[in-house]
């Protein structure tokens, strides 16, 4: 687990997700600039708004591909466990926040935060699982 880049499946996953994240940055910056400069509306606005999400899809797909490609069962189960903890964290936060938003005036939780929250919970679970399986 210390140097998972020696693992070919993990290396491909890191390469794909880093590429997708780089594309995401380019897409989000260019979309924001385009909206700021040209104020598009109608179908073009919807199409442009969805563009950055494509890069996020790519990260999600690359995760799935990693799970399929990973030959090491232990590493695959570790990743699955991490993803499930991330999922649990997201569901807890969105349920609690959603409940608060319904009855109390708190800031709206942007749906894009779900993805970030997921990775935050994956990151939090990571050292605990490393300790568990040390």
């Amino acid at each position: 687990m210390g140097c998972s880049l020696k693992n070919p499946a993990a290396r491909r996953f890191v390469y794909r997700s880093l590429t997708a994240n780089a594309v995401y940055i380019v897409l989000i910056v260019s979309t924001a600039l385009y909206f700021h400069r040209f104020h598009p509306h109608g179908p073009l606005a919807y199409l442009l708004a969805v563009l950055p999400a494509i890069a996020i899809f790519a990260v999600i797909v690359s995760l799935g591909v990693y799970l399929v490609e990973e030959k090491d069962e232990f590493q695959r189960n570790l990743m699955v466990e991490l993803l499930l903890w991330g999922l649990g964290g997201v569901l807890v936060i969105t349920s609690a926040w959603g409940s608060l938003e319904t009855f109390v005036h708190i800031p709206h939780l942007m749906p894009t935060m779900t993805y970030s929250l997921f990775w935050i919970f994956v990151g939090i679970s990571w050292p605990f699982l490393l300790r568990k399986y040390r």
Partner: protein
């Protein structure tokens, strides 16, 4: 390798699933009761401050309980095939909910689309997970 088929006709024969259902159903009933009570209380008494905050969080507690119950089921399930089926459908649900919230999020930032209510994440995830379970059951039939 012996071919496995999911025992989907009588899942309650499986002790882990039986325990899961015994935990899940009362928790969901508690959720409905708590939600209706909170709705009624807030509309009737218009609480404010800490009491309102506390009341607002109440319906989320059974939902958090459901998440824990699923986790307990995954830990308790001895049948590796059924556990993997559940995990696989949850991962499909996760991918779908991430995709949906991301698209909706960007539409919300840049276009005048309706706000996505965060509490919808939970039921939508289970919808996607349910669809994935159906597809996987067909696959492994």
């Amino acid at each position: 390798m012996k071919e496995r088929k999911p025992n989907m006709g009588c899942l309650q024969k499986n002790p882990a699933i039986r325990r899961y259902l015994w935990r899940f159903i009362p928790t969901m009933v508690a959720y409905v009761v708590v939600l209706l009570f909170v709705e009624w209380f807030v509309h009737r008494y218009h609480p404010a401050g800490a009491l309102l905050d506390g009341m607002a969080v109440l319906p989320a507690i059974p939902l958090i309980g459901v998440i824990a119950i699923i986790g307990i089921y995954l830990a308790e399930e001895k049948d590796e095939f059924l556990r993997n089926l559940q995990i696989q459908s949850m991962l499909w649900g996760l991918g779908a909910i991430m995709a949906l919230t991301t698209v909706w999020g960007f539409l919300q930032i840049f276009t005048p689309i309706h706000r996505f209510q965060p509490f919808m994440t939970f039921p939508l995830f289970w919808c996607f997970q349910g669809i994935a379970t159906g597809v996987l059951q067909r696959k492994y039939r």
